[in-house]
């Protein structure tokens, strides 16, 4: 009996030691790999080959507009006080910044407007651009102040009305937003823009299906609209259909909109839709080359997490570093994304809830409501969800995913 027991003990001891050494061996192997591999060490260096490319500028090869930008800048350097040149340059930089999701261009636009930037009452063109740049930086109060000023001197500035409507919509102030859409409807040539504005706002305000029908009818059979306007209208239609659970319809609108050209906001909306549909592999296919823009990288990483893709760890690290870099400069524009990252990838609900609440104080789109509810549920802090519940009841916002979350919140004991 004792002999047998002792024998078993010897075998167990052998296994114990063997596994301990496995663990230690694996540990040191990885240590060596990480020490030797160049990615792990990020210290300043001196390259040794003069031909080595150390940086690629963010312009696509053969992009003709690069030369235009350069010439425009040279002209502006010669005449920095030429307002016509400056306004044109700022507009072009803004377009580029929006198209590529690259905030450096917004900085350049502000730089071009330098001589007028701090004036209390700059020329109208500058005022509109300044408002839009404030909007990009999520300084909605400053943007609205500038737009009010502009509309005082030029009540027919439709661009100002539209920008105000969009800001109010993002803030969840739908009555205000609706008032600002109205002037656009008066102009026949802008009818679709006005209709898109009105429908988008109303779709958040308890009239999703009616808004969808109106916009759909407005878009039908119209050949005289610009691709940008059509794309915007299709994106709104897709969003309403997705929120009302009509997935096949939403899918069709998303695909039609994507055919009209690349758009970062649209790509993000479609990727979100696919994630909700449980189709992460399609998200990975869609976004695998879009890692420069934080929001798209986040969506890609969420998809990679769902299928445990090999690039997951690398992308999690990249996002971590980027949010850290934003924090260093006190950049608060990415709180929604950071809340989502912290909740779904880092699995730290309390920290995520804090971020989602800070974000909710600034913007109130369905996605903002969603991440707050999800974080409140995960952190088991039902009280934190109350402002969102109140907002949803008051606005009548229709969204199948939010409805599910609201039910879950209400099922929790307070």
């Amino acid at each position: 009996m004792n002999k047998k027991l002792s024998g078993i003990r010897c075998v167990l001891a052998a296994r114990f030691i063997a596994s301990a050494y496995w663990v230690i061996g694996l540990f040191w192997f990885t240590a060596v790999v990480f020490t030797v591999s160049p990615v792990a060490v990020a210290t300043p260096f001196v390259p040794n080959d003069p031909a080595q490319i150390i940086e690629r500028l963010p312009f696509k090869p053969g992009d003709a507009s690069v030369r235009e930008l350069r010439e425009q800048r040279a002209a502006l350097t010669r005449e920095p006080d030429n307002i016509k040149l400056a306004v044109q340059a700022a507009r072009d930089y803004m377009t580029r910044g929006r198209a590529e999701g690259d905030p450096r261009f917004f900085g350049y636009a502000e730089g071009a407007l330098g001589p007028w930037w701090n004036l209390p009452n700059p020329p109208e063109d500058v005022l509109l651009l300044r408002a839009k740049l404030h909007q990009v930086n999520h300084d909605f109060a400053a943007a609205l102040t500038d737009l009010d000023l502009l509309l005082k001197s030029d009540p027919n500035n439709l661009n100002a009305w539209l920008t105000r409507a969009i800001i109010f919509q993002v803030q969840g102030k739908y009555a205000e937003a609706q008032k600002n859409c109205a002037p656009l409807l008066q102009i026949p040539s802008l009818k679709l823009t006005g209709l898109s504005c009105v429908s988008s706002v109303a779709s958040f305000n308890g009239a999703a299906q009616a808004s969808y029908d109106a916009l759909y009818k407005g878009l039908e059979g119209r050949a005289d609209i610009t691709p940008e306007d059509r794309q915007w209208a299709l994106t709104i239609l897709a969003d309403i259909a997705a929120r009302t659970g009509q997935t096949a319809v939403a899918e069709r609108h998303f695909k039609d909109a994507l055919m009209l050209g690349p758009d970062i906001w649209l790509l993000g909306a479609y990727a979100n839709f696919l994630l909700d549909q449980g189709r992460p592999t399609e998200v990975i296919e869609l976004l695998k080359d879009e890692t420069s823009v934080d929001n798209l990288l986040l969506l890609l990483t969420l998809a990679e997490q769902a299928v445990n893709a090999p690039a997951l760890a690398k992308h999690v690290l990249m996002l971590r570093e980027r949010f850290a870099a934003s924090r260093l400069r006190n950049d608060m524009r990415h709180r929604r994304e950071e809340a989502r990252f912290t909740l779904h990838i880092l699995h730290e609900p309390r920290e995520a809830l804090k971020l989602a609440q800070e974000n909710w104080a600034v913007q109130r789109e369905p996605e903002d409501a969603r991440v707050l509810l999800e974080a409140a549920l995960a952190a088991e802090d039902i009280k934190a969800a109350q402002p969102v519940l109140k907002f949803l009841t008051e606005s009548g916002l229709e969204d199948v995913h939010l409805d599910g979350l609201v039910k879950q919140v209400k099922a929790q004991p307070v």
């Binding site: 001891a13 114990f16 230690i24 160049p38 390259p47 150390i54 940086e55 760890a313 870099a325 934003s326």
Partner: protein
Amino acid sequence: MRRLFLLLLTLCLFAAPAYAHKPSDSYLYLSVAKDGTIQGQWDVALRDLDYAIGIDENNDNAITWGELVKRQAAIAAYILPKLNITAGAAICTSTVIDHLVDNHTDGAYEVLRFVAHCPKEPSVLELDYRLFADLDPQHRGLLRLDYQGQTRTAIFGPNQAKQRFELGILTPWRQFRDFAREGIWHIWIGFDHILFLIALLLPSVLLRKRAGDIPCRPLEVGTFTASPALNIPRRELQTGQWEAVAAFRPAFWNVLKIVTAFTLAHSITLSLAALEVINLPSRLVESTIAASIVIGALNNIYPLVINRLWVVAFLFGLVHGFGFASVLVDLGLPQGSLLLALVGFNVGVEIGQLAIVAVFLPLAFGLRRSWLYQRIVLVPGSVVIALVALTWMLERIFNFKVLPF
């Protein structure tokens, strides 16, 4: 194996980095010495420099090292005057030391190392930062200022271009105490280190009865040897049961050996990692720490290592040291007094550890004969520890979270 290793290396070398789109920042590190010399390092994005003064000579949208070298003098001449350093009323003059390259999240940066000389030891430093203020008002200069082991940070932009820094004096003793406090705090909130120690210490007030020893020499880790302090004849012990130690001394020696081995081991790796001699990925370290607790706890259920638990404490202590190091690195190590911080933190960890032992040992010794300790605390307690640690291990390996701590 070698092929796999080479493949890994190649992947690391050629993986095309995807850079972030972010607003423009520069990273400015200043380290002020007592005699008034300031060592500076300024990382400025090549993309921003190209926009400002042009680096891409052949306009092919790719900047080569050769192109950068040609513009290094022009870069220094452009950026250095945009940073004015004054100490009191005296201007500190900067000279270039070296040009390097580094990568940040949004691409490659020129790394300009310079030294600034102030006439005397500064008590107040004033910085006036104007880089890219005209071209890109969204540009920010992110400063890290080190003085006598104290680190301060600041953000410069067009609206905060001038900032003042009082260079108060921080005594080494104060700094030592700060780091020691951090060390104690880390042990206190780091459940994993506490659990590991407790798992190893639980059997220290007991003896494992082991009868009819059949030697399995090559594999044997722990052999039972009766302590001279014990007057229990070896024959009386029966297989597979625990027996309370008779005196306090053997229990104390057991604990001392384990704690010493653990301390020695984690001090070694803590130092190596903090001095950046070895660098390990935190996921690996954290999961191995969890694994060490599982193994430690399992050993109380199926005892294999008995007398030489200190060997286990030493081996896994090495891994726990890397865990401590990551905390220390996160705290930001003062370059001037690295050793002081290291020793201070380590002393703090030891104090925290001793506090745990000081509570544990008398309690365990007092309870050692009780039914509670032998039947409830030891084995079921170890099962709970093992389960918690196993969950931690899975959480850390597969990157998810179920436990709230």
